[in-house]
């Protein structure tokens, strides 16, 4: 028993120590004051992101490269815990870090499809950056040299995921990648959903199998995200993609935490304006605009008038989604219990911070209205203590 306990103490302590290296609000504010992506990168080079930015020309850094390097930093942070974790936690950690592999597959699909309007990092450069890591879900070399959907499937190491992905590819499209027709776009969307479902379902199953306080906390961390994703996907499917209630229900995960299928059905069948009221009595109503807004929102939104803009309103939903998760992360650290939940919570904090930095970088790069940045950021820049 001595070793598992030792491992838990070590990983929990490291998580708490590493938490102290996250950027402060002042750091984020300084990033926002920069004028170019290179300046943002230079400033990040003086923080805990220095390790991942080492040996790269920061002055001339492009947004896509910086974004990828920041995502790699989350992976690197996670990998650093492997030495401390016992065998079971190591498996869980590897599973947790598969989110990076999933993002890589999606990014590669986007690159090959060139669906995104903005600049994207070339596969060669990606391969160069991730060459130090051994990804568990995907063979990075095969993935990044793939030129067809069949090649992409062949790069996936996990048999079950490979089978699920191949099911999502219609027969005629197997060997094509550069076709941009509607059927292909639909396939891309379906593949993205399969990847997400596979990841979150496996992660929640692994968290649900844990016992004690560790299990409870892990279920809360992953389960809250699962619930929010289920609701968010239905919300978006109904609101923006014109899906029928029944069709939107086919998108959801197998995993359920606090929101059961009955409530999800109710939410799917509710008209868009009644979506949030349907969730009354759950902790998620406020995320979708129902119930009292979280205090931080009220502080930072700059009043209801500025939220009238539809785009910003949707961004605010996404921000509240993550802030809801942030409150669960806070509870994990407050509890002080030892276990993998501390590592998971820390990695979530890193992930959210990277999201915020990316949002700031985009604001700098594309000249967005910086006064409204607080409507997008997960961590408010306005008030509060670090």
């Amino acid at each position: 028993m001595a070793f598992p306990v030792g491992g838990r103490i070590a990983e929990s302590s490291k998580a708490k120590v590493r938490k102290g290296t996250l950027l402060s609000r002042e750091d984020l504010r300084l990033l926002l004051e920069q004028t170019t992506v290179g300046d943002v990168a230079l400033r990040l080079g003086e923080t805990s992101y220095a390790a991942v930015l080492k040996g790269v020309s920061l002055e001339n850094m492009r947004r896509s490269e910086l974004e990828f390097l920041l995502n790699v930093s989350v992976l690197a942070e996670g990998v650093a815990f492997r030495h401390y974790a016992n065998l079971e936690d190591r498996k869980l950690l590897d599973l947790w870090l598969e989110s990076f592999d999933i993002a890589m597959i999606k990014e590669h699909l986007r690159f090959k499809m060139r669906t995104a309007e903005r600049e994207q990092l070339s596969p060669d450069r990606m391969l160069d950056i991730v060459s130090d890591f051994q990804l568990t879900l995907v063979d990075q070399e095969k993935l990044l040299s793939s030129s067809s959907l069949r090649d992409i499937l062949a790069s996936v190491k996990k048999e079950s995921l490979r089978a699920a992905l191949s099911e999502g590819i219609p027969a005629g499209l197997e060997s094509v990648l550069a076709d941009r027709g509607p059927e292909f776009q639909k396939t891309m969307f379906a593949l993205g959903m399969i990847l997400d479902r596979c990841y979150f379902d496996s992660l929640y199953a692994a968290a649900a199998a844990l016992g004690g306080e560790e299990g409870r906390m892990m279920r809360a961390l992953v389960g809250t995200r699962v619930d929010l994703l289920n609701l968010y996907w239905i919300y978006r499917a109904r609101r923006f993609f014109g899906m029928s209630p029944e069709e939107s229900l086919t998108l959801i995960l197998k995993a359920r935490y606090r929101v059961d299928f009955g409530l999800l059905t109710k939410a799917a069948f509710a008209p868009p304006e009644a979506f949030a009221p349907t969730l009354a009595g759950t902790p998620y109503a406020a995320v979708f605009g129902g119930g009292p807004a979280p205090r931080e929102d009220a502080d930072s939104s700059g009043g209801a008038a500025s939220e009238e803009d539809a785009g910003l309103r949707e961004a605010a939903v996404e921000r509240r989604f993550y802030r809801r998760l942030l409150s669960v992360v806070g509870r994990v650290f407050m509890s002080g219990a030892l276990g993998f939940q501390n590592v998971a919570a820390y990695l979530m904090l890193r992930e959210f911070e990277v999201r915020d930095i990316v949002a700031i970088t985009e604001a700098v790069r594309y000249g967005f209205d910086r006064s409204k940045i607080d409507l997008i950021l997960i961590r408010s820049l306005g008030k509060g203590i670090d």
Binding site: S145, A164, E167, A190, P245, L249, F261, T265
Partner: protein, 633 residues
């Protein structure tokens, strides 16, 4: 090494380097940094042959053929990437035609199986499929989907106005029929698409054609035999053309390996530049090969030390004798030595075996450890170098067992060749401390050597872990030994001793200043106060590090004590009813615990002595392994 020359010649050199297995490519930009032409070289890191090789391998795999052996080819095939791509594409298109036919046949089989199952289900209710096709208000759709999607469809069925019924449930797939209202057809199609349900292309109006189960079964069998025929076709085709395909595989593989070695190359005006690391002693071989294979190429070599001084991180290649090589893993566990650092593997190998045997000396337990390691190795619980290290450590346990005269803790079976830890405590303790003194001195000597290699003369002469520190330590040891009566007559007079020690101590305290004065340019990492504390800390370390080696004797005693306890427990139960059985049980369990638990503790203690007491004196590590590109992928 840098090679610059015509692309074809450089590729020939690359092939030769692959065969030699001594070249680790490095990005051209690193070597060219700050030099003219740097920005004019076009660099590309991709390997176009990766995808081609993968396509070829997949073709063979999917056709059930083994991937051919790849013996080293001393000549690079003349085919270009485009030509190779065309040949692979031609093969793919031939095989794909059969695969397409096979896929169609499989769908056909799915249809017949589904209709047979659906027909059986309907006939079970006393009706026929033709009756069913006349139901106008309800539509049916039959299809197959994965278990996961089946779960999703069933769940959606709870919220949608549909009825889903499974027809065939297999381990990974389900064939199901869905009943829904005619008006719901459009929505239903979206749901089918979302759950990736592959629909059987039979309209309800055609159901009558599937009424006869025998006719359906006959069709199903015909399709299955056709599938068998079609499945064998790619295999047959590729087998018939095996010689040509093997040649194609060899060509693609050779090109892929060469491209992999040249992945950091640069191109400029038809010339190719390639840079990378090689072991220095291979330089002459590389020169000869380059002269033969690339007569028009330029070759440039720079010494590792110069490159390291310029701030480059050089890879480390450890070279040790085969048996000693096993202990590289122990060094690597801590950290690989950096390029110019002394490789401590030999000393680690010798001392590790000695320390382990000293603390765990027992003939029986040593043999048990060897057998246990072999067992864990077979079960794949322990493997590689660590298992070898454990086996060698077990061998030294046996050796020390003979020296201690101990077999499973019994000291009456063989006569000790040296001493018995339990009976000769007064002898074994000084020996363990003596070993510590020698070992620590070696650690300091290594530090002196490393510092001398880096020309850090202040560190060599005045550091507490330099020459002055070593003299201070030896003098203190000599005086202590003389005072304890171990070296009668060796003691210095108190005054002389105090003066020498005082001078040495002052030299260490003022070492930074003196070094700065005599060896201009040597930088000092720490301030004065910190340095004073670090000198005091080093003095304390001399004491604590030396005392740490008492554990050698302590664990030898501990081993004898534990064995004594097990033997005593066995004797206590021997006279009880069934005593022999209990005795045997206690012996087996007791010795197993000793081998497993104490063996592990001694292993950790040995590592501690190596890493903390020895490595702590001189070792920095942080090296990265030399990773040449090899012919075998």
């Amino acid at each position: 090494m840098s090679f610059v020359g015509p692309a074809e010649e450089i590729e020939n050199v690359a092939l030769a380097l692959l065969g030699m297995g001594i070249f680790e490519p490095m990005p051209l930009e690193v070597m060219m940094e700050g030099r003219p032409l740097n920005s004019r070289f076009q660099t590309s890191r991709g390997n176009a042959y990766d995808a081609l090789l993968e396509r070829l391998n997949r073709l063979l795999r999917e056709s059930g053929l083994p991937i051919p052996e790849r013996p080293f080819a001393d000549r690079l095939p003349s085919l270009s990437l485009q030509e190779l791509e065309e040949r692979v594409a031609a093969l793919e298109s031939t095989v794909d035609a059969w695969n397409k036919e096979l896929s169609g046949l499989r769908e056909e089989r799915e249809k017949w199986r589904a209709m047979l199952a659906f027909g059986d289900a309907i006939r079970g209710t006393g009706r026929s499929l033709s009756d069913f096709s006349r139901a106008f208000s309800v539509r049916t759709a039959i299809g197959t989907l994965s278990n996961e999607n089946w779960r999703r469809l069933r769940e959606t069925g709870l919220a949608a106005p549909i009825l889903v019924v499974p027809l065939i449930e297999e381990t990974d797939r389900v064939t199901a029929v869905v009943f829904y209202e005619r008006e719901y057809h459009e929505d239903m199609n979206k749901i089918f698409s979302a759950v990736h349900m592959r629909l059987v292309p039979v309209r309800p109006e055609e159901y009558g054609r599937y009424d006869s189960a025998d006719a359906v079964r006959y069709q199903l069998e015909a399709v299955e035999s056709e599938i068998e025929r079609c499945r064998a076709m790619p295999w047959r085709y590729l087998s018939d053309n095996r010689a040509e395909i093997d040649k194609l595989c060899a060509a693609v593989y050779a090109k892929q390996r060469v491209a992999s070695l040249c992945r950091f190359r640069g191109e400029l005006a038809g010339m190719t530049a390639l840079t990378g690391w090689i072991p220095w002693d291979s330089y002459n071989d590389v020169r000869v090969v380059t002269a033969q294979k690339a007569p028009h190429a330029l070759l440039n070599a720079e010494s590792g030390s110069a490159l390291e001084r310029a701030g480059n991180e050089l890879p480390t290649l450890l070279r040790n004798l085969p048996l000693i090589r096993r202990f590289q893993e122990i060094v690597r566990l801590y950290s690989l030595p950096s390029y110019s650092e002394l490789d401590p593997t030999f000393v680690v190998a010798v001392s590790f075996c000695f320390f382990f045997g000293f603390m765990f000396g027992d003939v029986g337990h040593g043999i048990a450890l060897i057998l246990g390691t072999r067992f864990l190795e077979k079960k794949k619980i322990m493997g590689g170098a660590i298992a070898s290290v454990m086996r060698i450590a077990g061998l030294f346990s046996v050796l020390f067992g003979f020296l201690y005269g101990s077999v499973f803790g019994d000291e009456s079976l063989i006569h000790p060749l040296w001493l018995s830890p339990m009976r000769d405590v007064n002898s074994i303790l000084p020996v363990s401390i003596g070993v510590g003194i020698v070992f620590l001195s070696l650690g300091i000597a290594f530090r002196i050597y490393n510092a001398a290699c880096k020309r850090e003369w202040g560190e060599v002469l005045f550091s507490p872990e330099g020459v002055t520190g070593l003299l201070f330590y030896w003098l203190a040891v000599l005086q202590a030994a003389a005072a304890a009566g171990a070296l009668p007559g060796a003691a210095l007079g108190t005054g002389v001793f105090a003066v020498i020690m005082g001078v040495l101590f002052l030299l260490m305290l003022c070492g930074n200043g003196i070094a700065g004065f005599f060896f201009h340019g040597e930088t000092v990492d720490e301030g004065g106060v910190v340095h004073v504390f670090s000198v005091f800390h080093a003095m304390l370390n001399f004491i604590s590090n030396t005392a740490s080696f008492v554990r050698l004797a302590a664990f030898a005693l501990n081993h004898a004590g534990l064995c004594g306890a097990v033997l005593m427990l066995g004797d206590m139960v021997e006279n009880a009813p069934g005593g022999r059985l209990y005795h045997a049980f206690i012996m087996v369990i007791g010795h197993l615990v000793i081998v497993a638990l104490e063996g592990m503790i001694v292993f950790i203690q040995t590592l501690r002595l190596e890493y903390y007491e020895f490595f702590g004196k001189f070792y920095r590590g942080g090296g990265r392994p030399f990773a040449p590109v090899l012919w075998e992928k």
